[in-house]
């Protein structure tokens, strides 16, 4: 499956391993790889889908996993890292897409790429996504753990059960983490808007 210049499963697995062993610069490498792959997949999906149809972030992330690592690693830690990374990359893609679309719209360009995550937002106010994104960044400054869970749920499309399995805690804990993350996000967003 791994073609010319595309990240091979081996490469991703190796990067994940290095990251797991504490070499944090590997994280950026693997994020870059996964980002590239997800973007490719998103474009393919969009080409295949009809106008106005949503591209499911869940589908993309799982497809990326199939493509990049499936079968090459049985390590739960690898899987966890992969999904954490992929979910974060997905978030990045969603925000980038919105930004690009906004730019394109002003220039009279193509209709916006619509991702499922947009249901969190007012369709006519994509700039809110940016606010959400910034709040997530703020939260990440306090708790990577909460953001990872949030990413997996919102952008990776993983179910609470899947997240529980990957992160080694129970479902109830995942639910509470998501609740906490929500509270904090809204707190940060409220703060931001107040200080505008």
């Amino acid at each position: 499956m791994s073609g010319n210049g595309r990240p091979g499963a081996h490469e991703v697995t190796a990067l994940l391993k290095r990251y797991a062993q504490g070499q944090s610069e590997s994280l950026n490498d693997v994020v870059a790889l996964v980002y590239e792959e997800l973007h490719q997949l998103a474009r393919q999906q969009l080409r295949r889908s009809r106008v106005g149809q949503h591209v499911q972030t869940t589908v993309l992330v799982h497809e990326a996993y199939e493509k990049l690592v499936q079968g090459k690693t049985q390590d739960l830690r690898d899987r966890r890292h992969f999904f954490a990374v992929a979910s974060r990359a997905m978030r990045q893609i969603v925000v980038d897409t919105y930004r690009a679309d906004n730019a394109a719209k002003r220039g009279g360009g193509a209709p916006p790429v619509t991702l499922t995550v947009s249901h969190l937002l007012d369709m006519d106010k994509p700039e809110q996504l940016v606010a959400v994104y910034e709040a997530i960044d703020k939260l990440a400054g306090h708790s990577e753990d909460l953001v990872e869970t949030l990413d997996m749920s919102c952008f990776g499309g993983l179910s609470n059960e899947q997240i529980a399995e990957l992160t080694g805690c129970n479902v109830r804990t995942v639910q509470r983490k998501l609740q906490r993350a929500r509270s904090w996000l809204m707190h940060f967003m409220a703060q931001d808007i107040k200080s505008d």
């Binding site: 499911q56 869940t58 499922t116 995550v117 249901h119 969190l120 937002l121 007012d122 369709m123 006519d124 106010k125 809110q128 606010a131 959400v132 306090h142 708790s143 909460l146 749920s153 919102c154 179910s159 609470n160 109830r172 639910q175 509470r176 998501l178 609740q179 906490r180 929500r182 509270s183 904090w184 996000l185 809204m186 707190h187 967003m189 409220a190 703060q191 931001d192 808007i193 107040k194």
Partner: protein
């Protein structure tokens, strides 16, 4: 108020407290928060409140939500609910009582009056509304902005299924408010309790349309549940509006709770709402699935109201609910599949849009294959056959008119049973060929089973070419299938192929030969009875030669007798029936279906002989045999036929019991939605009417009407509407009669006049409508029926022509009487000698029919005025004249509803001296 980021208390400490708080529920959580030191308490309180925002975007628009929310009600608001006293936001609205309060404001029940004349103050109209007012004039700009956004959003919605935006403005202190239509009605689950399956589904489709409309405007409702869907007085489903609905429900909804995100009703929350995942269109699809579940079964799939929150979430997110069909067997696997697809735990597995869900429900209603079912060819075919069975049922039903026996549909039910028992070999061949023809792959709805079969015919022919034994079996089956599809030519061709195969088989051919004769003769009997009689005369042996031939012979003979009856060769028909009876005895035929059929025929013979006692015996036999035949639908129809007989014999209680049993069988078998059921309902309505319960007759007919599709079941509907008109006339609701008549008359002329089969049926029906001859004449005149007397006379004459069957005798008498009356009155035409002869002959036949005294008077009156009244009848005429005058007095003196009682009374005294009439009915 929000200067406190994690700063006074560290993020980690607060987050840990938050975690503890979220681990608790309800009062325990509140207690925990209240027990915290002041700064933490304030912080955690806000964080928890913030989490109640509907979505991330809501908080983006409304960061200061917590301020408004935590404010004590009334503290800032001068608008307390002060019944009727409060002067109003817009100066004209009066607030009556508080309906509830929510994140941004309070909601009041309000009304305003408009005055037609300001000087006198007379009220012109009163309008009611639910008014929502922003909590506080000191609310932050953001809350204000959000409130205004909600207002804008609601104002942009305009759909008959949604509560409408009525008005909006600002108070003196600058607070915005808006008024939404106040919907008074019944919650949908309550409303549908007495409704038929189809009515429920149609109502559900209305809800879907409203939700789909909102989705088109990118608004997700998120809180669809029975309490939010009201059915207004016009019977229309109304989805209460978004923000307001949520608020309105706060007050009386015990299980309202808040979890990860939006405030939601636990009982109706989607899994993703409970787990804090994205709430999308799919969540509304899920809630619509729940709504449909409740509408079908009367209860939600899970009852989580008494469970602790965590367990409730577990139930909703992890347990598969019982299919609706488990609770109510009448629901069936198609609806099960639709509901379960909508209720999938994973949003991706549900219908992708509300329209897709609605589309599938519509498909079910049209008896088309639903998409939620595994799409095998045979599933599609079954749906198709069912759809077709109903369509053929319509023609049957329309033939049944008011009192005619329902023998035809018994035969259909029989055929269905035979079809179920058909030969495995033939079935195998057909199914092979059918699969090969593969009509359902990627061709959409335009390919019909009929097309597929027609395409497959050459192949079938080739496969059975060398084997006449197989050829007859296969073609025999094909004949039945084409019959159920209503493809007469193909059906006839199949039966001819059976005959051809029989000819090839030579010596052992008697059974296939007889089946071929039965099949082809049956086609003819339906299309051209005279031709059928000739055909049977030539081809059908007088008796079967051995036991093996008995079954097909009986089948053929049954059609033969039917055809003889149709061409009014009653003598031969009766003789044929007696031969059947002999054969049954001789061969000891114990097939209960055959015996039941025979009993029905014998009952017909007895009816023609005027032998009610014998007829009674045969109907009892027919019912008994049908009970043994284990064919519920045929039993139900037979019961209904017997009920009609009992009704005719004025044995109303027994008749009603038989009707009720028949109806119960339909209901139990889940067949209480089809056209045959509607026919039985109409028969029952007729009985109710005759036994003086016109009100019940009307509701029963209305129930039947609702089962009949205005498009495909037009004829049956027409019949039911005409009945309704008659019944309404008796209850004094003549306006309904006028409406129906106005509609019916042109339809009869336009649609049926030239159609030899339907036209005749309709003419007959129309003739029977003349039971109300006099009233009809008045009705027609009242509506200014332009064509005048002559035209109506033509109607009567046509009706007379169509009333050819002996069973129509009573109706024919009515028409004649009306005709005599008309000619007598109009003097437009001299009565002809045949008329007069007919009248005299008619008069001499005593028939216990509705209003017969009046009719007889009409006849005699006409004869009298033509001065041809035989002396023997003059005396009677004088008597009847007196009786008529008395009747008219009685009718005038009695309230409309007792007219029927009076008629029954008149009938019961028909043979007694006129003076009996002086005692009014009790």
């Amino acid at each position: 108020m929000d200067k406190t980021a994690p700063g006074i208390v560290s993020f980690e400490a607060l987050d840990a407290l938050l975690d503890q708080a979220y681990a608790l529920e309800g009062p325990a959580r509140r207690e925990f928060v209240e027990g915290l030191p002041a700064p933490q308490r304030e912080q955690i309180g806000k964080l928890l409140e913030l989490s109640n925002a509907l979505t991330l975007s809501d908080i983006a628009a409304d960061p200061a939500r917590s301020v408004a929310k935590t404010q004590e009600p009334g503290e800032e608001s001068p608008l307390t609910a002060d019944a009727g006293a409060e002067e109003t936001p817009a100066g004209r609205w009066r607030l009556h009582r508080e309906l509830g309060s929510g994140g941004m404001g309070q909601v009041f029940f309000a009304s305003r009056e408009a005055h037609a004349d300001t000087a006198s103050g007379s009220r012109d109209y009163v309008q009611e509304a639910a008014i929502k007012i922003l909590w506080s004039h000191r609310a932050s700009e953001d809350v204000r902005a959000r409130f205004l956004r909600e207002r804008r959003l609601l104002a942009s919605l305009d759909h008959p299924g949604l509560a409408r935006f009525v008005d909006g403005g600002f108070l003196a202190d600058g607070r915005p408010w808006f008024a939404m239509e106040y919907v008074a009605g019944t919650t949908i689950d309550e409303y549908v309790r007495d409704q038929s399956l189809e009515e429920r589904l149609r109502l559900f489709l209305e809800v879907c349309a409203a939700v789909a409309y909102a989705h088109q405007r990118l608004i997700v409702h998120r809180d669809i549940k029975p309490q939010n869907v009201l059915v207004d007085e016009t019977g229309r489903a109304r989805l209460l509006d978004f923000g307001v609905a949520g608020v309105l429900d706060d007050i009386d909804d015990g299980v309202y709770t808040r979890t990860a995100g939006a405030p939601l009703t636990l009982q109706y929350a989607s899994p993703e709402q409970l787990t804090g995942a994205m709430v999308t269109v799919a969540s509304d699809v899920y809630q619509l699935g729940l709504l449909l579940y409740v509408m079908l079964t009367g209860a939600p799939p899970y009852d989580v109201s008494d469970l602790p929150l965590t367990e409730a979430i577990d139930v909703i997110c992890n347990t598969t609910p019982a299919k609706p069909g488990v609770r109510d067997a009448a629901i069936g696997s198609d609806l099960d599949a639709i509901v379960m697809a909508a209720l999938s735990k994973s949003p991706d597995e549900r219908y992708r849009t509300v329209s897709a869900l609605a589309d599938d429900v519509s498909r079910f209603l049209e008896d088309r294959p639903v998409k939620a079912m595994p799409r095998t060819a045979w599933y599609v075919a079954r749906r198709f056959l069912r759809r077709n069975a109903l369509v053929t049922g319509i023609v049957t039903a329309s033939a049944l008119a008011l009192t005619a026996a329902t023998v035809v549909s018994v035969r259909m039910a029989d055929e269905a049973a035979e079809q179920a028992a058909r030969s495995a070999t033939a079935q195998q061949i057909l199914s092979d060929v059918f699969r090969k023809a593969d009509p359902f792959q990627g061709r959409g709805a335009t390919v019909t089973l009929a097309d597929a079969l027609t395409r497959a015919l050459p192949e079938i022919g080739a496969r059975v070419a060398d084997d006449p034994l197989l050829a007859w079996e296969v073609n025999h089956e094909l004949g039945k299938i084409f019959e159920s599809l209503g493809l007469i030519e193909q059906e006839a061709a199949a039966h001819r192929a059976v005959l051809a195969a029989a000819a090839e088989l030579g010596d052992e051919s008697e059974v296939p030969y007889l089946w071929g004769v039965a099949g082809l003769g049956n086609v003819l009997a339906r299309t051209n009875p005279a031709e059928a009689v000739k055909f049977f005369d030539e081809r059908l042996p007088a008796r079967p030669t051995d036991a093996a031939a008995v079954e097909p012979w009986m089948s053929a003979q049954y059609s033969y007798v039917g055809a003889l009856n149709r061409v009014r060769e009653f003598g031969r028909a009766d003789a044929g029936t007696f031969v059947m009876a002999e054969i049954v005895q001789q061969y000891d035929v114990d097939d209960p279906r055959r015996r039941a059929r025979l009993s029905q025929l014998l009952a017909g013979v007895a009816r023609r002989a005027g032998d009610a006692v014998t007829e009674d015996l045969h109907w009892s036999d027919a019912v008994r045999h049908m009970r043994a035949a284990n064919n519920p639908s045929a039993l139900a129809v037979t019961l209904s036929n017997r009920a009609i007989f009992l009704g005719r014999s004025a044995r109303y209680d027994e008749s009603e019991a038989a009707f009720l049993e028949s109806l119960a069988i339909f209901e139990e078998a889940g067949m209480d939605t089809d056209a045959t059921f509607a026919t039985v309902l109409r028969g029952y309505a007729g009985l109710l009417f005759r036994s003086g319960r016109a009100g019940e007759a009307i509701t029963t007919t209305e129930r039947a009407l609702k089962l009949l599709d205005p498009g495909s079941q037009f004829y049956a509907r027409f019949v039911a509407e005409v009945n309704l008109a008659q019944y309404s006339l008796v209850t004094g609701d003549t306006s309904k009669t006028l409406v129906v008549m106005t509609r019916a008359l042109p339809v009869v002329r336009r649609e049926f006049a030239d159609d030899p089969s339907i036209g005749r049926r309709m003419q007959r029906l129309f003739g029977k409508t003349m039971v109300f001859g006099g009233a009809y004449a008045e009705a027609a005149m009242a509506i200014g029926y332009a064509d005048g007397e002559c035209r109506r006379e033509a109607d009567l004459l046509r009706a007379l022509e169509s009333l050819e069957h002996p069973a129509d005798e009573p109706a024919r008498q009515k028409v004649w009487a009306a005709l005599a009356d008309l000619r007598h009155k109009s003097r437009s035409e001299e009565l002809t000698q045949p008329d007069l002869d007919g009248f005299v002959a008619l008069y001499e036949q005593e028939a216990p029919v509705f209003f017969d005294a009046l009719d007889r008077w009409r006849v005699l009156d006409a004869l009298s005025s033509a001065a041809v009244l035989p002396p023997a009848l003059r005396q009677r005429h004088a008597e009847l004249d007196a009786q008529r005058a008395e009747t008219a007095t009685l009718i005038a003196a009695y309230p409309a509803g007792t007219l029927v009682d009076l008629a029954a009374y008149l009938r019961s005294t028909a043979d007694k001296p006129v003076s009996c009439l002086q005692t009014p009915p009790g």
